[in-house]
């Protein structure tokens, strides 16, 4: 610890460089590598991409129809069916699972840092986009 403080004070290492090393440590985790692999698999799986595209499209349609008060039971059923297809699609399920695991790890890391800094690192440093940004 003292070594780092001295290196920063002497200008041998900047705070941003230390932060960059934290990023490098994240990249080296199993969770990060798993997400990379899952993402590659998804990019190479045309069927999975097409299914997800249809789901997103239907989701947007239902949202719009709900806002207009015109969503039908058929619209909702179609969306639910696509949701089920996504859940049983190995590529997509694996991709979402890998995303969740990495986010959980990042939250743990943020808690680890924030509890020591006595301030929430991620909450304070994330780009401000308003409440629901």
């Amino acid at each position: 610890m003292h070594n780092i403080e001295k290196q920063i004070e002497s200008g041998a290492m900047s705070l941003e460089e230390v932060a960059g090393k934290l990023g490098v440590a994240v990249v080296a985790t199993a969770e990060y590598r798993a997400l990379n692999a899952a993402e590659k698999r998804y990019q190479n799986d045309i069927q999975a991409r097409e299914l997800y595209g249809r789901f997103r499209e239907q989701q947007r349609t239902v949202q719009l129809m709900q806002q207009l008060g015109k969503a039908t039971p058929e619209d909702m059923e179609h969306l639910e069916n696509l949701q089920k297809d996504i859940e049983t699609n190995e590529t997509l399920a694996g991709y979402f699972d890998a995303q969740e695991k990495l986010v959980a790890l990042l939250r743990d890391l943020n808690e680890f840092i924030s509890s020591r800094l006595n301030m929430d690192f991620a909450a304070l440093s994330k780009p401000q986009r308003g409440c629901c940004g």
Binding site: E9, A19, L22, Y32, S125
Partner: protein, 123 residues
């Protein structure tokens, strides 16, 4: 579960942030802000009056004079030199943390803070 490598990198990062002039200034300014008797009294009065007025607001018995009084207390608190220094120090350390987030995010390829921050009002 954090790996040893991640814990070490996290601890190093915390030590580096703690050693910055911005963090040192913030910790000092926060301690002064919290300990100052005049500000303690102001915060206590403001909190008390705000609570009382909130209750009155629901019954419609709130007067303009009372609103002005709370506004005056708030303005006095905000304009106090110790508060101003504390707010400035807070802005400075937040800006530094933002730069750190950019550095982490650049390595991982997406916004670290956006992914790792606790859930906000939108769930």
């Amino acid at each position: 579960m954090l790996t040893t490598q991640l814990q070490t990198a996290g601890e190093t990062f915390v030590a580096a942030v703690t050693a910055t002039p911005e963090m040192e200034a913030f910790v000092r300014a926060k301690a002064v802000f919290r300990a100052d008797p005049e500000l303690q009294d102001l915060r206590k009065r403001l909190s008390q009056r705000s609570g009382e007025l909130q209750a009155k607001q629901t019954t419609g018995a709130l007067t303009q004079q009372e609103i002005d009084e709370v506004q005056f207390l708030q303005n006095t608190l905000n304009a106090h030199p110790i508060t101003v220094q504390f707010v400035q120090a807070r802005h400075a350390i937040i800006a530094r943390l933002g730069e750190c987030n950019e550095a982490v995010s650049e390595e991982i390829g997406f916004d670290f803070a956006a992914a790792a921050a606790p859930q906000s009002c939108c769930g």
